[in-house]
Symmetry: C2
């Protein structure tokens, strides 16, 4: 029996864009056929985009999807691709009328087979038990003599192997359609899991992931095919669209000369950087923006966000505003301007807007003091950015990082304003790592390092009062960030944290700050999940909640 030519169609759909997504499938199918593919596989729910959340519950949407899928089957045949087997994720309807997460096999001008996802993830960022009915029947079909099975994402992750639905069916090849969001270190887990499944099934496995950003998720692609022995037959890039055809041998098993699985790209920081760039680029594009706007303080957070923005939408589409106050240090403006020059921001898009006049007018009326006075400055800056955004149409970016968001060290309606927050899931420590990574990449590419060394090396400060520094209010970041990681991402208790070596006072201070900042986090802009546990729908805590890890910390 001849090998089967299988194309991994790793594409970037947009939620709700049925026409655009169908065209993407059509164009990729053409490309696959040109590469000699007999089967082309797309990611999970490619025709609707993913995840669609409660849009699944809208009947008019389901009707439109069903019509567009039928039309696509015809269009494929009309394009001379009637012999190609196109396996694409879609939205269906169960016999009881509930929505389903499906894979369609389009061939010969019609929808030949439908598989319905059985494992419905309902943890972390996923709510699929909320919106979908689970399928019950396996799907196995023939392709040029190969016995091909279909699974969707959680089907291969779930408890009990999740593949129970394939029963005792003997397969040569399992196609897995995925919408698997990026998180730091996850691609290694995926490869290991798929290797186990391939060996267990004694079949090759083609793992096809979506690529692209959708709100707070970014799909990293990285599709691949393993043979039945767990050897790599072919793979696609991370963070880019690609149609790649791989030859899958008969019985799913390659000869002895098969390549072992390539080690994952070990550069976790580089992956995280690229993930955020893609998330931002897609948020901008898919929401109809063409430019972004942010405040440039001379500090590390805004410098990294500006650099990510320039990589995502082009430096010519980035507008940066320095907004000095009487408390700004002399280097703030210099560092901001240096950054703008290094990035190649258009001179008319680097603007300096002092806040003194507005600040004085507010204080002439209100005479605020202390924290209220500090917040006032941040809010004037927020208003300037929103005013320019309303006038000129740019998407405002919030510069906040995960450490700040965790402890509430930001001003709501001040530095927290914006439509997207690229560093929302990046700790301060990792913000510095991203900066160093990006500068190193520039050096490697023979380009100007975008981020001024001074922005990286100076002590962090909000500059809202004379000689302010973060470490006056918070523990040093080399203590704070590991503590937050343990408390937030791993749900460590007070006792656990003390045992990890953190002082009891610091534990009380930090856990209390985290618990009390929930209301601010609820109003924070979206930003991409890049860790195992991001703030937002990944971590759903009540605002009203008086439980404290340490009883002594209960007063508020």
């Amino acid at each position: 029996m001849d090998p089967l030519s299988v194309a991994l169609a790793q594409v970037n759909p947009t939620v709700g864009d049925l026409e655009g997504n169908a065209q993407l499938v059509l164009a990729s199918a053409r490309q696959a056929a040109a590469q000699g593919a007999q089967v082309v596989v797309f990611g999970e729910m490619v025709l609707t985009g993913y995840p669609i959340e409660d849009l699944a519950l809208r009947t008019s949407f389901r009707v439109a999807v069903a019509e567009r899928a039928e039309q696509l089957a015809t269009e494929l045949a009309d394009a001379g691709l009637a012999d190609l087997m196109v396996v694409a994720g879609c939205l269906g309807t169960a016999s009881d009328g509930r929505p389903t997460n499906t894979a369609l096999v389009l061939t010969g001008g019609r929808i030949e087979h439908v598989y319905t996802k059985q494992g419905l993830p309902n943890y972390g960022v996923f709510d699929e038990y909320r919106i979908f009915a689970a399928g019950e029947a396996p799907l196995r079909f023939g392709a040029a003599g190969h016995r091909v099975g279909v699974a969707i994402c959680e089907d291969i992750w779930g408890a009990g192997g999740g593949l129970a639905h394939l029963g005792e069916a003997e397969l040569d090849l399992l196609l897995v359609l995925n919408g698997s969001p990026y998180e730091r270190g996850k691609s290694h887990q995926r490869t290991e899991l798929v290797r186990q499944r391939a060996k267990h099934l004694d079949a090759a496995v083609a793992y096809v992931n979506l690529v692209g950003g959708q709100d707070d998720l970014v799909f990293d692609g990285g599709s691949f095919v393993l043979d039945a022995g767990g050897n790599l037959l072919g793979s696609s890039a991370q963070f880019a669209e690609e149609v790649r055809t791989v030859s899958v041998p008969a019985l799913g098993r390659a000869g002895e000369d098969a390549t072992a699985v390539a080690p994952d790209n070990d550069d976790d920081t580089g992956q995280m950087y690229d993930a955020i760039v893609l998330a931002l680029a897609d948020y901008v594009r898919k929401n109809g923006f063409t430019s972004v706007l942010l405040g440039l303080s001379g500090g590390i957070d805004s410098a990294v966000v500006a650099t990510i923005a320039a990589d995502a939408v082009g430096a010519q589409n980035v507008v940066g505003v320095a907004m000095p106050s009487k408390y700004s240090s002399s280097h703030s403006l210099a560092d901001a301007e240096d950054l703008a020059n290094r990035l190649g921001i258009d001179p008319q898009n680097y603007r300096v807007q002092p806040i003194e006049a507005m600040f004085d007018s507010f204080q002439g009326e209100l005479a605020l003091t202390g924290l209220a006075e500090e917040n006032l400055q941040a809010r004037i800056r927020g208003m300037i950015l929103m005013g320019l955004s309303n006038d000129e149409g740019h998407l405002v970016l919030a510069p906040g990082n995960k450490s700040e968001l965790a402890v509430g060290y930001s001003t709501i309606y001040g530095d927290a304003v914006g439509g997207y927050a690229p560093l929302k899931d990046v700790s301060k420590t990792r913000v510095w790592e991203l900066a160093r990574f990006r500068n190193a990449r520039a050096r490697q590419d023979g380009e100007i390092e975008p981020i001024p060394e001074n922005s990286i090396s100076k002590p962090p400060s909000a500059e809202l009062r004379p000689d302010q520094r973060d470490d006056q209010s918070l523990p040093d970041y080399d203590i704070l960030d590991p503590l937050l990681d343990a408390y937030v991402e791993r749900a460590a208790s007070q006792a656990d944290l003390v045992q990890l070596g953190f002082g009891a006072d610091v534990v009380d201070q930090v856990t209390m700050l985290v618990d009390r900042a929930e209301w601010k986090r609820r109003q924070y802009p979206l930003g991409p999940k890049v860790t195992a546990l991001a703030f937002g729908r990944d971590r759903r805590l009540p605002v009203t909640n008086v439980f404290r890890e340490h009883p002594g910390a209960a007063e508020r």
Copy 2:
């Protein structure tokens, strides 16, 4: 066999306040015993508060809850209540380590029985499949010769009757522990459902609900007992704590002189008003605030919010700020001051803060025009409120209503600032209804009508440009609100809406506005759900979503 004395302990716990909630159970058990009760029943998860969301996943919390429950059993016995059977909702742990939603039967100084909830709601505002493992075993126990079964909330709602777990067990009385949030018209549904269940089981049913606000939910109490024939044996008030002991006859069946179920309070508007007052009062109290602050524009929304606030926390704890601009009409200030006087707001807590100076200083620097200039005024007001809040510690209330929120007719970081938005789920039409209801109640009680007639009768306007009126930007509310109701709450399609009689142009305009405002809604403060479908976790839609009901409306 003698009747069984069953106390409905309708109490208001606080999420995470294990000590306070245990004391509440203890005090209510004492009260029940004093009333001669043999069994006292509390609402769902009364010991932890409800819903606890991902707090269920925190091991240290589960450990603390288990310890507090054991201690409570001892305390009850120590208080001389060893013979009383106390049935209280709690958080448990399944054999596989996952959290469970349980009912404990505390008696004789120990936890005598544990029932685990089997029906886990995972729709609307509920995420219980996400956080809980389902129970599998029924619970039936004896109380003074009566055969008593236990169910928790969804157990009696779910498909197939949800009572399958009770099997063929013959019961005299079913105890149902509930955390059933208020929504308009729901209490009638509850009574009907419980009546069916009582008849089906041929047993009396004691339905005990929580009371009180928790973030975006408000539990309305309204506990009741029906006999096996569906006749009312006793009931508790809505929106108030109450311990009421009801005598349940042998075999769960009352004599022929039993009272038929009392009709629900048909005053939906009054119920909604009281629900919002309770939600706000509890948000303030449970989050440690003692006072609230809002802008008073002279318009209907802020007038109703101020009145709700005065009812919730006392007029002496309400601070109102009128913030006139050059576009404010002459009646704005007069109506705001009239409201403050009618409510009895402390004269030093009614303040007038013109925005002219700040507005001029911003415009001197930025020279914004059009929408940006309008938003600037709203944002200056937002900053003033946040500055005063930071300085004086008041909770800021956002005055926005559901109609505004739906179509994005508000200024993010402007009138949308705040920690709580009492009218978030109330359409503009219903805001007027609430105003008329509250004034009528005042008349009935011989008190001053709180809301100035002029605030009710004048055409709504944001007053951000000369002679602005809402109907210049939006359809009249008598068209807009029914359209929103159909599109948002009932997910009507474009074709449905046209068939309902709305013009195609209006449908396109409104559905487009709704779809495009999702990003603003994500950053909006919490507010109480009072309808079948509220914005927030009840309706989870992607921000990035280009699906439009009408293809012609797809441009943005």
